[in-house]
Amino acid sequence: MTIELSRRGFCIGTALIGLQTISSSAFAARSEDGTVRLGLVAPTSGPNARYGAFSLRGAQMAAKEINDAGGVGGRKINVMPGDSQGTPVEGVSATRRLIDQDQVDFIIGDVSSSVTLAMQPVVEDAGVLLLNAASSNPMITYKAGVGGFKWTFRNYPTDENRSLLVLQYAAEKKGFTKYSVLSVDTDYGRAAIQFTKKYLLRFKSEILTEDYYKEGEVDFRSVLSKIRDSGAQAIIMYGNADSAPIVGRQMMEVGIAGKIPLIGNAEFNTASTIKAAPKAMEGAIEAAAWLPGYDSPKSKAFVDKFTAAYREAPNNHAYVHWETVHLLAKAIEQAKSIDREKVRAALSGIHYDSAVGEVTFDDHNQARLPMILLEIEGGTPVVKGAYKAEIDYPK
């Protein structure tokens, strides 16, 4: 009897939930409720949730800051999350739901490039503004703005110039010519190395060994022993924040800490990473658009606030999403409305004063972000140069 009841309950429950999806009104106009609806597509379940969580928190913190100060043009920002699980299908479903059912005005998303690429045509058809704050595939930018997708904007640096500058610094200031590659096996890591290879000849350098580690890899000992015996002078690493301390510790185990530095970008310059393996991080060279230790009042305020609110330090994704929400708010203010056309126009021409300098967008809707080059000396990151770069778009 109880089984029968629970079965019936299960059926009815499922049917009700299923009907809820179909019942979304198809043609209702966006109801005016005095808020700005901001959709946020990010992986909040599955293995990639470890990055999506930071993005969501960064955005939510920014929204709270803005709302506490009275909102943007009198409207409060309402962040509506959508889970993409890092899979394109889920990402597109989340996007569609946000657009059609939740009737968002703008969307920020995703972290994974494949999801973002799948979202682009969807937002383009619907005429919804998409701000990307974490994906690294250059195709997103090549196809944006004059490249076709007018509604996609990207507020995240590309790796073209970053790889050039890292290599340049290493060759000219350190005299390195022999490298080993240990980068993350995603479009981010692979693309960065592809770009690096373009410039090897210019600096008379060579790559001795080339390895890519999967996201979530924890055992680097074999590769590091190989690198130790290869004669490389530095390890080119473009990877994720949570692998850097593991690599650092295992470099200590294998005996190359302090002898072969890391160059590239994997958030080497966070306090916890340096603390995890100080000897290995010594002499690390990193180029980034932002680091937790960045020396500016706005940046420090952000780090302090985030750490106080969430009991853990922010990472790059948290920062960029926080910054992007503020950027959007500024654009809405400039446009003096939440009409998407007007906000988009405002974004294209914006001069935004971010925590790391002025941000503008080029004709491919890619943000021109100031970047800094740091070297770790004596356990602290030291700024060795700053630059702003134009991208060489393929014809």
Binding site: G52, A53, F54, D185, K214, E217, S222, K226, P245, N315
Partner: protein
């Protein structure tokens, strides 16, 4: 050159020990429950989170955190075992797959809900490198190898001599006859499951210091590493699984060094498929039972 190969073999034994502790648990669960536990990696994750929580929020020393991690996971295993795993006994394979996948989703996402999805840093453990026969290893890794051996020997003894162990062997050989002889199959199934989950948790807490990064979704990768091992070792075959884990660890190490790190994960399933073509019943079992 020779030294390098030996060094990679040592690396392989280190990672093999980690896999072994997790894999023997999974294979025992299969032997008794006839279910591939797709949620096995989640117990590894739970053990790690339990220990992390103890260290992060209560500042407890690492050995205490190890115990807490394993005990917490065992408690959760009791609940899961009672409500889910016991019912899988005798059900078709598809049921086991879906049920354990459901459990995996619930465990993973509850942890994300409770602690936030972001990755945490695991502080604690013995990470100082020491030199052993000319190889440098973190102290923690030597601990892992030793624990791996203890677990293996302990299980062998238990399965051969203890009442519980003999009952487990009986259940894995012929469930119908167990009822005749008076063995409470559901009871044995539950305890085997708890033991298996506890071992996975133990492996998690032991490797957390050298793996550093802790997050809710970390169990999935472990599950996928362990699945080929238990098949190669022969399902339900503890000895075979232990050896298979070591072989996989060494193979992965050699592939990572001489072919490329990006192929490391494929070694598991690629080796499995080759083994299955050649010896469908696993490397160590005399005949194919599954």
């Amino acid at each position: 050159m020779f030294y390098t190969i030996i060094e990679q073999v040592v690396n392989g034994i280190v990672s093999g020990s980690v896999y072994a502790i997790v894999a023997v648990g999974m294979t025992m669960i299969f032997g008794v429950l006839r279910a591939i536990n797709f949620a096995h990696g989640e117990y590894y994750m739970l053990g790690t989170f339990g220990a992390w929580f103890a260290i992060e929020y209560f500042d407890l020393p690492y050995p205490v955190a190890v115990v807490i991690g394993v005990v917490a996971t065992a408690v959760i295993a009791v609940v899961v075992g009672n409500f889910v795993m016991q019912r899988i006994v005798g059900a078709p394979a598809e049921a086991g797959v879906l049920a354990t996948l459901g459990v995996a989703l619930i465990l993973q996402n509850t942890v994300i809900l409770a602690f936030g999805g972001s990755y945490k840093f695991f502080s604690g453990g013995y990470i100082e490198p020491v030199s052993v026969f000319g190889f440098t290893l973190a102290e923690q890794r030597i601990l892992i190898i030793i624990v791996g051996l203890i677990v293996f020997v302990g299980l062998e003894l238990m399965v051969t001599y203890s009442r519980m162990g003999k009952a487990m062997r009986a259940v894995s050989q012929n469930i119908e006859c167990c009822a005749v002889v008076g063995i409470d199959v559901r009871h044995i199934a539950l305890w085997t499951f708890i033991l298996g989950a506890g071992l996975a948790a133990l492996s998690g807490v032991l490797t957390a210091p050298v793996n550093v990064s802790v997050y809710g979704g970390m169990g999935e990768l472990i599950t996928f590493k362990t699945l080929p091992i238990i098949i190669m070792g022969g399902l339900g075959n503890v000895r075979g699984t232990f050896v298979a884990a070591m072989i996989l660890g060494i193979a992965e190490s050699l592939v990572a060094t001489y072919i490329g790190l990006q192929f490391r994960d494929t070694v598991g399933f690629a080796t499995l498929m080759l083994v299955l073509m050649w010896r469908p019943h696993g490397l160590f079992s005399a005949q194919a039972r599954f």
